[in-house]
C-alpha cells in the first residue's frame, strides 16, 4: 500500500513536472543552436588556428579545464574530501585485506597483470589526449583506478602502496592550486592559462590544459584507488 502510494506520488509528480515544462514557453525541449546562451563564445575558434583565446580542440575540455577550471578544482576537492572521508571512516592504523573467499589460480594472476598494463596505458592515453579527443583526466583517472581494482579483485593478497597514492594525490592537488596561484602572480588571474596556446588540434597545445588534465588524471586515479583499497581492506582486530 505504502509502495503503491509512493509510486502514485512519484508518477504524479513526474507527470506534473513534464506538463509544467511543456506549458512553459521559455523552456525549449531542443534548441536550434547555442545562440543566446553564454556558451556561444566557447567555440569561437577554428581547427588549425594559431594562438586562439583558448587552446583545446575539444570544447568541453576547454570549458572544464580553462573557462570553468575553478569548478573543476572544486570537483577534485569533492573527490579528495570524500576519499579522505572514506579513509577516516574505514581506515585504521593496521589494515589487512578483506577475505574474498577464493584463491586465484596462476592464469588469473598473470592474465590480470597483463591486462592491468593495457588498461593503465589506455588510461594514460585518454588523460594525455584529453584536450583533443573525448575523455580527459576524469575518465583517464577512473581507468587507472579500475586497473587497480582489477588487481585487487583478481588477487586476494594484493595490496597497493597506499602511501605512494597519498603522495601522488597530495602533490597533484597542490600542483593544481600552485599552477592557479602561479597564474595569479605571473599573469593577472587565478588559473589563467599563461602558457602558449599553440595550434588547435596539436598534441602540444592549449597551454596549461594538458598539464592540468594530467594532474587531474593522477589525482583522480590515486584517490579512487585509495577508496578501493579502503573498501577492500579491514582493520586488524
Amino acid at each position: 500500500m505504502k509502495n503503491f502510494l509512493a509510486l502514485l506520488a512519484a508518477l504524479g509528480l513526474g507527470v506534473l513536472i513534464i506538463l509544467s515544462l511543456q506549458n512553459n514557453t521559455l523552456f525549449n525541449e531542443y534548441g536550434e543552436d547555442v545562440t543566446g546562451r553564454d556558451s556561444e563564445e566557447y567555440g569561437d575558434r577554428e581547427y588549425g588556428e594559431e594562438n586562439p583565446a583558448s587552446g583545446p580542440a575539444n570544447i568541453v575540455t576547454s570549458i572544464v579545464a580553462d573557462f570553468r577550471s575553478f569548478d573543476t578544482l572544486g570537483e577534485i576537492t569533492v573527490l579528495f574530501v570524500s576519499s579522505l572521508g572514506v579513509a577516516l571512516l574505514l581506515g585504521g592504523t593496521k589494515q589487512k585485506r578483506l577475505d574474498l573467499g577464493f584463491h586465484p589460480n596462476f592464469m588469473l594472476r598473470i592474465g590480470s597483470k597483463a591486462l592491468f598494463g593495457i588498461i593503465l596505458m589506455t588510461g594514460v592515453y585518454v588523460t594525455i589526449h584529453g584536450h583533443l579527443t573525448p575523455g580527459g583526466g576524469f575518465p583517464g583517472g577512473a581507468m587507472i583506478a579500475s586497473s587497480m581494482l582489477l588487481l585487487y579483485l583478481a588477487d586476494d593478497t594484493f595490496r597497493a602502496k597506499i602511501k605512494g597514492f597519498k603522495i601522488l594525490e597530495s602533490v597533484a592537488g597542490s600542483l593544481y592550486v600552485l599552477i592557479g596561484i602561479a597564474g595569479l602572480f605571473f599573469a593577472d588571474y587565478f588559473l589563467e592559462n599563461f602558457l602558449n596556446n599553440g595550434v588547435v588540434g596539436d598534441l602540444l597545445s592549449a597551454g596549461i590544459i594538458p598539464l592540468i588534465y594530467v594532474l587531474i588524471g593522477l589525482k583522480v586515479g590515486s584517490e579512487i584507488s585509495g577508496v578501493i583499497d579502503n573498501f577492500l581492506t579491514e582493520e586488524v582486530v
Binding site: I17, S20, L21, N24, T25, L26, F27, N28, V34, G36, R37, D38, S39, E41, Y42, D66, F67, R68, S69, F70, D71, L73, G74, E75, T77, V78, F80, V81, S82, L84, G85, L88, L89, K166, I167, E169, S170, G173, S174, Y176, V177, L178, G180, I181, G183, L184, A187, D188, Y189, F190, L191, E192, N193
Partner: protein, 463 residues
C-alpha cells in the same frame, strides 16, 4: 588583493596536510587565522578567474555583504577550530576543505559554482558529523543533503535552459521580466537550499545530527554552517530570485510553520541539546523570512548574532553533556553554580537570542521588526507587513519561556555537578559574550554598518 586566495590557500593547505599529518592542526589554525584576517584587506570588486569575463568564466563577487559574511563566518570558524582542534586532530584536512567550501559559498558569483561549493562544504559537513559516532544519522544527513543539492541542480539546469546563463547577475536580469516562468525552478532551488538551511519539512536530519552532537560538530553545524547557509540563501533571495505569486504563498507558509513549529518543538523538548536545535530551526526560519521579505541587511546581522549565540550555547551544553553523560535538563540542573563565568556567558547568549535589551540580539531583532513597519516598506510576501511580525513576536514569547526554564534550572537548582572547561574555551566564550554586549550597547555603530549595506530600496548593494 585577490579574494581568490581565501579559497586557494585553504585548498592548497588541505592537499599538503595529508602528507604532513603531524603539523596539519597547526596548518589549519594558521590558515583559518589567515582567512579571518584576510577579508579586512580585500578590495571590493569582481574577481575574475582564469582571465575570462564573467558570463563566460566564473567570477567572485566581493561586496560589502560578502565581506561582512566572510568576516563573521571565518571568525566563528576560527574560534570553533581553535577551541576544539586538540581533540579532533584527525579532521584537520577535512576542516581545511570545509573552510575553502564555506568561503567559496559566500564569494562565488556563479550559480553552478555555488552548487560545487555546496557539495564541498556539504561533504565536509557529513564528515564532521561522523565524529558523533552515529553513522545512521550521518547517513540520513547525507541522503537529505544529496537530494537537496540534486534539486538545486535540477532547478538551475531548467533555468539555464531558459536563460542560457549561469551567472548570478545575468540570471537576475533575466528573471526580472520572466517571473512567472521561473516559478518552478525557483521552488526546486529553494527546497534544495532549504534542506541545508533547516527549513521545516525538509530538515529531519537536524535532530539526528545536532541531537547527538559533540563539541566540534555542534558548534560547527549549528553556528558556522548555519550562518553561512543562511547568508548564501540571503544572497540568492536578495540578488537572484524573484518571489511572487504562488511561490511567495508557499514560501510564506513554509517559513511561518517553520518558525512556530520550531519554537513549539523546542518547548516540548526536555533535552538541552534538542531545545537548542529546535530553537535554531526557528531562528533559521526567521532569518530566511527576513531575507525573503526584503530586509536583507538586518537579516545578515540576525544570522551573525544567532551564529555567535549558538556557538556559546552549543559549546557549553555539549561540554556539560560530555561530562554529565546526559543532556536531560534535569540531569544538568545546577551546572552553573560552580561555573559562574561560563554560566554568565551562556545567559548572555540566551538573552541575546531572546532579543532582550543590552545585547546584540535586541538591536538586531528590534531593527528587523522596525523594518516591517517602515512607512514605505512593502513586503514580498502576502501579509508580510503585519502577520509576520506577529509570528516572530509569538515565537519570541514561546522561546522566552523555555529558555528561562532552562536558565533557572541551570542556575538555581542545587547540585554538585562540576565540569571543567578548558581555559581556552572559557576565554573564547567570554570574549564572544562580551562582544554580544558591546554590539548591543553601541547600536548606533551597528546601525551605521547596516545602513552602509543597504540602499534606500532595502536591497543589498550588489556591487
Amino acid at each position: 588583493m585577490s579574494a581568490i586566495l581565501l579559497i586557494a590557500v585553504p585548498l592548497l593547505a588541505a592537499f599538503i596536510s595529508i602528507l604532513v599529518k603531524k603539523v596539519s592542526p597547526y596548518l589549519l589554525l594558521l590558515v583559518s587565522l589567515f582567512a579571518l584576517v584576510y577579508p579586512f584587506f580585500m578590495d571590493m570588486s569582481d574577481v575574475i578567474i582564469g582571465g575570462f569575463d564573467s558570463p563566460i568564466g566564473i567570477n567572485l563577487v566581493v561586496n560589502k555583504f560578502a565581506l561582512t559574511s566572510l568576516i563573521a563566518v571565518n571568525g566563528l570558524f576560527f574560534l570553533v577550530v581553535a577551541v576544539n582542534i586538540a581533540q579532533y586532530k584527525k579532521l584537520s584536512s577535512i576542516l581545511l576543505v570545509a573552510l575553502a567550501g564555506l568561503n567559496g559559498l559566500l564569494l562565488t558569483g556563479d550559480l553552478f559554482n555555488l552548487f560545487v561549493f555546496i557539495e564541498i562544504s556539504g561533504i565536509a559537513a557529513y564528515l564532521i558529523t561522523t565524529t558523533n559516532k552515529k553513522p545512521l544519522q550521518t547517513f540520513n544527513y547525507l541522503v537529505a543533503g544529496t537530494v537537496g543539492s540534486s534539486l538545486y541542480l535540477l532547478g538551475l539546469i531548467i533555468l539555464y535552459n531558459m536563460s542560457g546563463t549561469l551567472n548570478m547577475a545575468d540570471m537576475a536580469t533575466f528573471v526580472e521580466g520572466n517571473g512567472m516562468y521561473t516559478l518552478f525552478p525557483f521552488l526546486l532551488m529553494f527546497i534544495g537550499l532549504g534542506v541545508e538551511a533547516k527549513l521545516l519539512p525538509f530538515n529531519s536530519w537536524v535532530k539526528g545530527i545536532l541531537g547527538h552532537s559533540n563539541n566540534l560538530s555542534g558548534a560547527m553545524i549549528a553556528s558556522v554552517y548555519a550562518t553561512a547557509i543562511a547568508l548564501v540563501f540571503g544572497k540568492l533571495l536578495a540578488g537572484v530570485f524573484q518571489i511572487e505569486g504562488t511561490l511567495a504563498l508557499i514560501i510564506a507558509l513554509v517559513l511561518g510553520i517553520t518558525i512556530l513549529a520550531g519554537e513549539a518543538m523546542a518547548y516540548a523538548s526536555t533535552k538541552a541539546r534538542e531545545i537548542l536545535l529546535y530553537s535554531s530551526i526557528a531562528q533559521a526560519g526567521i532569518v530566511i523570512l527576513l531575507f525573503t521579505v526584503g530586509l536583507g541587511a538586518w537579516a545578515t546581522f540576525f544570522a551573525i548574532a544567532n551564529g555567535v549565540s549558538k556557538f556559546i550555547l552549543f559549546g557549553v551544553v555539549n561540554r556539560l553533556t560530555e561530562e554529565v553523560g546526559s543532556d536531560e535538563m534535569d540531569q544538568l540542573k545546577g551546572s552553573f553554580v560552580n561555573n559562574k563565568l561560563i554560566g554568565v556567558s551562556f545567559t548572555v547568549a540566551a538573552l541575546s537570542i531572546l532579543g532582550l535589551p543590552l545585547f546584540f540580539g535586541f538591536v538586531v531583532k528590534m531593527n528587523s521588526l522596525i523594518g516591517f513597519f517602515e512607512p514605505d516598506f512593502v513586503s514580498n510576501l502576502p501579509g508580510g507587513n503585519f502577520i509576520f511580525p506577529i509570528i516572530i513576536l509569538v515565537a519570541s514569547v514561546i522561546e522566552g519561556v523555555y529558555f528561562v526554564k532552562l536558565l533557572t534550572k541551570l542556575w538555581y537548582k542545587d547540585s554538585d555537578v562540576k565540569v571543567n572547561f578548558t581555559p581556552l574555551f572559557k576565554y573564547v566564550v567570554v570574549v564572544l559574550a562580551v562582544a554580544l554586549i558591546v554590539f548591543g550597547l553601541f547600536q548606533g555603530e551597528v546601525e551605521e554598518l547596516v545602513a552602509s549595506l543597504i540602499n534606500p530600496g532595502g536591497v543589498f548593494i550588489w556591487n
